[in-house]
């Protein structure tokens, strides 16, 4: 090696050829590397979409998820008010909680870098502690892929034009296999029990069906509902509206599953054998009940079980009230209702049929002979349309028509019927008329989507070939010289948005008069109470407020000895609310008279 080597002196400068090139090493200033798009990191929960069903907490195999109360989130119908909190020290990011979330509110983000000295900080509430997490979601079920089963097992039923030929029950009912499969879709969150006016133990009996124990299901159902088969067929099922599965899918068929469980007991004897309720020793107290509708029957059944001597006074030849006389037999067959009432009578309830209070027996007598009285008289009187020509022959109230048909009476309706109204009574009257061979048109003042009737009923009517004329306001019924209905005249209406935020109002269009030839007109625009049986001092003592009995939380009226329930009290006008009223009154009467 010489003293001066030019090559070795210059060699370091060769590095200069890299000058200006993009370096292959780290960036300067340093840049954080983004995690990959599908990296499973910390949870994020959309607090508004979450309904607090707790499915995430139940599925977690590491017991890492708690359901907790969060400030500012109140429980309401269809929302438990609780939200999940994750212990990230236990989480293994398997994301089962995300895959079973029925609403899709829970997801994982790609945030995984979380460094802190405070170990307790790993206990955190998704959505509250990382509100910005929604921008970095890496794993969610937003695409609809979920471990929940969103599709309902279809209910077998008769085809529309086949149904209209007879009064055979339109819905056929689940068989065992279908019922087990449908019951298995339930996630047992119990949000439905709060929506049910009677707070039936829904997840428990559905779970019993899913596990193959129909007898236990029936026992659980009879714990607070003595007319479950009726509810299983015609309940308004507000439970299904809040079903957690319904947020993104079809709700669990709670009503059909109840029907399935009750139909496993074919007769009232079998029902009694299975339910096998404990009947207490007679306690010597007497309760008189006015009206054998759902609320009266419920109060009677549970009072009889508690050892009371119960007598129901019923004006008609059969018990059941509106469920007997208001609901067509293709929805609720006579045998089914008979079976349930037979069972209630077997428990020891005494029903005096054809005994109208105020006519065949005075209210005073019932009041004086009993230690407590329960009034469940319902809303028997229909509102009239209040238009000209309503007194013509062939113009009638739909609820009276249904009553007569259910009582096996002959009613002349001809071959062209117009039904006015959009509730279940209107649809029922229309579908019954169709079964008698009439061509039926429903006139409703609002739009079809505004109809208060069940959508299944509306669809059923459409399937059976019933015409619907929405936004039609009847103004006059024309009759021929013999006084028979000849035609109905109506105005078409346009929907005007309500300024105060209510539902849109129909406003008649001037000059849009339309005349439709008909042979019968049925009004179905609502019913009201008839309290003429309360005479003398009782009229004063038992207060009626705006058409309904005024009661406290225990169904007690202004006379402490008298309780009331059903349509004559509540505003929901359905059987399940009446049943809830009856049960509440039973508990209050028991407390008042026996002190339980």
């Amino acid at each position: 090696m010489s003293f001066f080597d030019l090559k070795d002196t210059l060699r370091p400068f060769t590095a200069l050829k890299q000058f200006g090139k993009k370096p292959h090493t780290i960036n300067y200033p340093e840049k954080t590397v983004e995690a990959s798009d599908r990296y499973r990191g910390l949870h994020y929960n959309d607090l508004d979409d979450c309904i607090g069903c707790g499915n995430c907490s139940t599925i977690c195999q590491n017991a890492a998820i708690d359901m907790i109360k969060i400030d500012g989130i109140e429980g309401k119908n269809g929302d438990s008010g609780l939200r999940p909190r994750v212990d990230n020290g236990r989480c293994c990011w398997c994301a089962l909680c995300v895959e079973v979330c029925p609403t899709g509110s829970l997801s994982l983000t790609k945030d995984y870098n979380y460094v802190t000295d405070d170990a307790d900080a790993f206990l955190w509430t998704p959505g509250v502690d990382n509100p910005d997490g929604k921008d970095r979601i890496s794993f969610s079920t937003a695409d609809g892929v979920s471990l929940n089963d969103f599709k309902r097992i279809p209910m077998p039923e008769l085809e529309g034009m086949e149904r209209v030929k007879s009064f055979a029950e339109a819905v056929i009912g689940y068989n065992e296999e279908q019922a087990r499969a449908e019951a298995s879709r339930c996630i047992s969150c119990a949000l439905c029990t709060e929506a049910c006016p009677d707070h039936m133990h829904i997840p428990e009996y559905i779970n019993a069906i899913a596990r193959g124990n129909d007898a236990d299901a029936l026992r659980i159902i009879y714990d607070n509902n003595p007319l479950p088969e009726m509810c299983g067929k015609v309940c308004t099922r507000r439970c299904e509206d809040v079903c957690a599965i319904a947020v993104r899918g079809e709700p669990v068929a709670i009503r059909w599953l109840k029907r399935y469980a009750t139909e496993t007991a074919l007769t009232s004897e079998i029902t009694r054998e299975i339910v096998n309720p404990e009947i207490k020793e007679p306690n010597g107290k007497k309760v008189g009940i006015v009206g054998a509708g759902p609320s009266g029957l419920t109060a009677a059944y549970y009072l009889a079980l508690r050892g009371f001597d119960v007598t129901i006074y019923e004006a008609n030849a059969k018990a059941g009230g509106m469920t007997m006389y208001g609901i067509p037999k293709y929805r609720l067959p006579l045998e089914s209702l008979d079976k349930q009432i037979e069972y209630i009578e077997k428990i020891g309830v005494n029903i005096k049929y054809n005994t109208k209070v105020g006519k065949d027996i005075s209210f005073e007598k019932i009041y004086k002979e009993n230690d407590a009285v329960f009034i469940g008289v319902g809303f028997p009187k229909a509102w009239t349309l209040g238009i000209d020509g309503e007194e013509s022959k062939g113009s009638m109230q739909a609820v009276n028509y249904l009553h007569m048909i259910n009582a096996d009476e002959n009613v002349e309706i001809g071959d062209k019927v117009a039904v006015i109204g959009g509730g279940n009574v209107a649809i029922d009257a229309a579908r019954v008329s169709a079964r008698f061979g009439a061509e039926v048109t429903i006139l409703y003042r609002r739009r079809i989507e505004d109809m208060p009737a069940d959508w299944e009923e509306i669809e059923g009517a459409e399937d059976e070939g019933i015409n619907m004329v929405p936004q039609a306001i009847p103004i006059k019924i024309h009759s021929d010289n013999k006084g028979n209905v000849k035609s109905i005249e109506y105005l078409l209406a346009e929907m005007v948005p309500d300024e105060r935020g209510g539902r849109p109002k129909p406003v008649a269009i001037e000059g849009s008069n339309t005349i439709m030839e008909v042979t019968a007109v049925m009004g179905a625009i609502g019913q009201q109470g008839d309290y003429s049986f309360l005479e003398g001092e009782y009229e004063e003592k038992i207060k009626v407020d705006r058409g309904r009995f005024a009661v406290n939380d225990d169904q007690q009226t202004s006379d402490p000895k008298v309780f009331a329930g059903g349509d004559a009290v509540n505003r929901t006008a359905d059987a399940i609310s009446a049943i809830a009223d009856g049960l509440r009154a039973c508990k209050a009467i028991d407390k008042m008279l026996v002190g339980n």
Binding site: D66, M67, S80, A190, T193, P203, N207
Partner: protein, 188 residues
């Protein structure tokens, strides 16, 4: 793709008439075969039909049916088709043919199956522990293994979680529902 699939079904069925196939959308085709046939089907797929890559072996515990299912997923780079070979083995003393000689990497999958599901393989000589250490309980991926009980026993709960509420209880309290004792065994 349809043509490739039907050709493959024909080829497999010619040699293994008892195999049944199930078609899926896209580039996936499943075959259900007898467990004894697994090595020969896989050999045929690899050396005869171009399915040279073993992507994965998956396992399913069919607890109610008393069987395990093994799913060998193979891939053909030329046909661009994924083929799933599915075979069932009884849950009681499960013994499967060893396919280490066909694909070397099957060794690891088989060790996983042995450790996590307790599935044994014929003349399979590999070190015992893969991911677990001194495991004495039933294999943890079996469905009758109670993961939650294990997690609760093994890992203590940190303090600060005492305010957790039960959804069912919260709803019962709010709606004043009275639930009978005999029904509670059906609650969540």
């Amino acid at each position: 793709m349809k043509e490739i699939k039907s050709k493959l079904v024909e080829a497999i069925k010619a040699t293994y008439p008892e195999a049944t196939e199930k078609d899926y959308e896209g580039n996936r085709l499943d075959f259900y075969v007898n467990k004894q046939c697994v090595p020969s089907v896989l050999t045929y797929l690899k050396s005869g039909l171009g399915y040279i890559h073993l992507s994965h072996i998956a396992f399913v515990d069919w607890l109610e049916e008393g069987e395990f299912e093994l799913i060998y997923i193979v891939w053909s780079p030329s046909e661009k088709l994924k083929v799933f070979i599915r075979a069932r083995v009884e849950r009681e003393n499960p013994l499967m043919p060893n396919i280490e000689n066909i694909w070397r990497q099957a060794n690891t999958y088989q060790r996983e199956a042995r450790e996590m599901y307790g599935i044994q393989f014929e003349s399979f000589d590999a070190p015992q522990d893969l991911m677990l250490e001194d495991w004495e309980d039933i294999p943890p991926m079996r469905r009758d293994f109670d993961t939650e009980a294990y997690a609760n026993k093994t890992y203590f709960h940190r303090s600060g979680r005492e305010d957790a509420l039960d959804v069912r209880e919260a709803i019962i309290e709010r709606s004043r529902e009275e639930i009978p004792d005999f029904a509670k065994k059906y609650s969540r």
